[in-house]
């Protein structure tokens, strides 16, 4: 079981979510985050001072069985890509186990 954490452009979120829906991925948890990387940030002005602000990104967390891993990564990569700096990253983490609170099921059954 793996957790796929994708940090993407907010404007791409809708498309990615639908693409995952088509793969049969129903569950995900989503968070508003700010990020920086090669794409530095937005230049803002406050009463004569200019400064750089982190960029809004969307973090999607999807826990999947090992078998779906490749497919999900590929889908996200291809749908979220615009080719311009700032498209984001996908990180893969190991997951020990999962529990479905409603039923108490655990492991692969829970996701």
């Amino acid at each position: 079981m793996k957790k796929i954490e994708a940090v993407i452009r907010p404007s791409k979120f809708e498309e990615v979510k639908q693409a995952l829906g088509k793969l049969g991925i129903k569950g995900m948890t989503v968070t508003d985050v700010l990020g920086c990387g090669l794409q530095h940030g937005q230049r803002e002005i406050y009463r004569g001072t200019e400064f750089i602000k982190l960029l809004p990104k969307v973090k999607m967390e999807v826990v999947v069985q090992d078998t779906s891993l490749e497919q999900v990564i590929e889908t996200i990569t291809s749908v979220a890509r615009t080719g311009e700096v700032g498209d984001g990253k996908i990180f893969i983490y190991p997951v020990d186990t999962a529990v479905r609170i409603r039923t108490g099921e655990s492991g692969d059954d829970a996701i």
């Binding site: 907010p10 404007s11 979120f13 979510k17 639908q18 829906g21 508003d32 809004p56």
Partner: protein, 460 residues
């Protein structure tokens, strides 16, 4: 004297009289023929606009105090009162309050559908001005009640309740106090701008309402602090601003009485806000903005019945009492009694209104409003005030209970548990107060194949 001279004198007499009449005519035209004094009319029109603004102000005041997931529902309740009651006021509300009195108990149907309500004068104002001004009062009163019911009442049930309540509670009560021949008014009770009609009545209805509905899920187990305090402050500010129209406008003219009412309104509001904040400072070690904002409303409620009857120092005394009693009611009494008046409508409007109505009987000054109070030796006035308060409590309490039970027999009053959990905004209105980034967090319908006609449990 010669005849010619007689004629000559008659001639002059005629000229003088004609002159007098001609010159007096414009005056007459203003004072009795057309009757509308445009300064007064302008003032009351603006005052009406100010009172209208109180209702969205109230919506924000209340909306900011609820949790984030119920802000839309709360605002919607207030806003619906503004809109719905404006229409019913035209159709039947106004005439039931201000039509020719049927035995001091109810207005007749003379003005049904705003018949004859238009450009013709009523005393110094256009009839349309007076009727519009009163329209705002009617809408505001029932909107005030909403604050006790929010976060759990079903919207549809509230709409029906508000409609009936405004018709068979507000209109009659308004007639009793302000209608020509209304029995409370005849009694000599003083209520300048609505201490009983607006505040006690909404406060009592709120109390009965929240008792009938029962507490919000989780009440008492976790605090339910305001989700947006600047919105609360904004709402309080609009209320305060509008209240000048409410109180000074109730002079129904733009002269010295309006000025006096304006002044004491400001003083009482300010005093009560400071009183509440200081009480918190002493009791909790910190003065809060919510306390100051609640305090100013308490002060405004308190001065409402007295605005045209008392002077500046009495306003300080009344404001101080209003701040203190309401603070006590909201922070101590309520917790002891254990009822869940979501946004403390009874604690502020009920308690403040009651104190204000009684204090009017104490502090009234003959030189200002024509009636002396207890301090000027007229103890009877306090008694009359007490009777009017009592009558309002009993009438509104009983009627509200009956109406809610009747409505509850037809449609459920409370939102479902699940709707309360996810929030009434989404459940009942299909809206969210704030939608965040995340592309709006939207899953398109197609992706899940949910039919567009699917409805959640409490949609109606």
């Amino acid at each position: 004297m010669k005849v010619t001279e007689m004629l000559g004198r008659l001639h002059w007499r005629m000229i003088a009289i004609l002159t007098a009449i001609l010159i007096a005519v414009p005056g007459l035209a203003l004072a009795s023929e057309e009757g509308i004094n445009s300064a007064d009319n302008a003032f009351i029109l603006i005052a009406s606009a100010l009172v209208m603004l109180m209702i969205p102000g109230l919506a924000l005041f209340y909306g900011g105090m609820t949790s984030r997931k119920n802000v839309i529902n709360t605002i919607m309740m207030c806003f619906t009162c503004l809109c719905m009651i404006s229409v019913t006021w035209v159709l039947w509300g106004y005439t039931l309050a201000f039509g020719t009195s049927l035995g001091g108990l109810l207005g007749g149907l003379d003005f049904i559908g705003f018949r004859d309500v238009g450009m013709e004068p009523v005393d110094n104002l256009a009839h349309a001005t007076f009727a519009s001004f009163q329209m705002m009062f009617a809408a505001l009163t029932i909107a005030l009640v909403a604050g006790a019911l929010v976060e759990r009442m079903r919207f549809g049930a509230f709409v029906i309740f508000a409609l009936i309540w405004s018709t068979i509670v507000y209109s009659p009560l308004c007639h009793w106090v302000w209608g020509e021949g209304g029995w409370i008014g005849e009694l000599g009770a003083l209520d300048f701008a609505g201490g009983t009609v607006v505040h006690i009545s909404s406060g009592v209805a709120a109390l009965v309402g929240c008792l009938v509905l029962g507490a919000r899920t989780g009440f008492g187990k976790r605090p339910m602090p305001p989700h947006h305090l600047p919105m609360v402050l904004l709402g309080a500010a609009l209320l305060w601003f509008g209240w000048f129209g409410f109180n000074a406008g109730s002079a129904l003219e733009a002269g010295a009485l309006a000025a006096s009412a304006f002044m004491v309104t400001q003083i009482a509001a300010a005093t009560a806000a400071m009183t509440w904040a200081c009480a918190e400072w002493i009791r909790h070690g910190k003065p809060t903005l919510l306390g100051a904002a609640s305090g100013c409303i308490a002060g405004l409620v308190t001065i409402t019945p007295a605005a045209g009857f008392v002077g500046p120092l009495a306003a300080i005394a009344m404001g101080f009492g209003g701040g203190l009693f309401c603070f006590y009611g909201v922070t101590v009494l309520k917790h002891r009694l254990g009822y869940d008046d979501s946004l403390d409508v009874f604690g502020i409007h009920g308690i403040g209104g009651t104190w204000g109505a009684l204090a009017t009987g104490i502090f009234a000054v003959e030189a200002i409003g024509g009636t002396p109070g207890l301090l000027e030796g007229n103890a009877a006035q306090l008694g009359i005030q007490a009777v009017s308060v009592l009558a309002t409590y009993v009438f509104v309490g009983v009627m509200t209970f009956i109406i809610l039970k009747a409505v509850g027999a037809v449609v459920p009053l409370r939102a479902g548990k699940n709707d309360e959990d996810i929030g009434l905004d989404s459940a009942l209105h299909g809206e969210n107060g704030y939608s965040d980034y995340i592309g709006g967090g939207v899953l398109t319908r197609e992706a899940h194949g949910i039919p567009a006609t699917a409805r959640t449990e409490a949609a109606y």
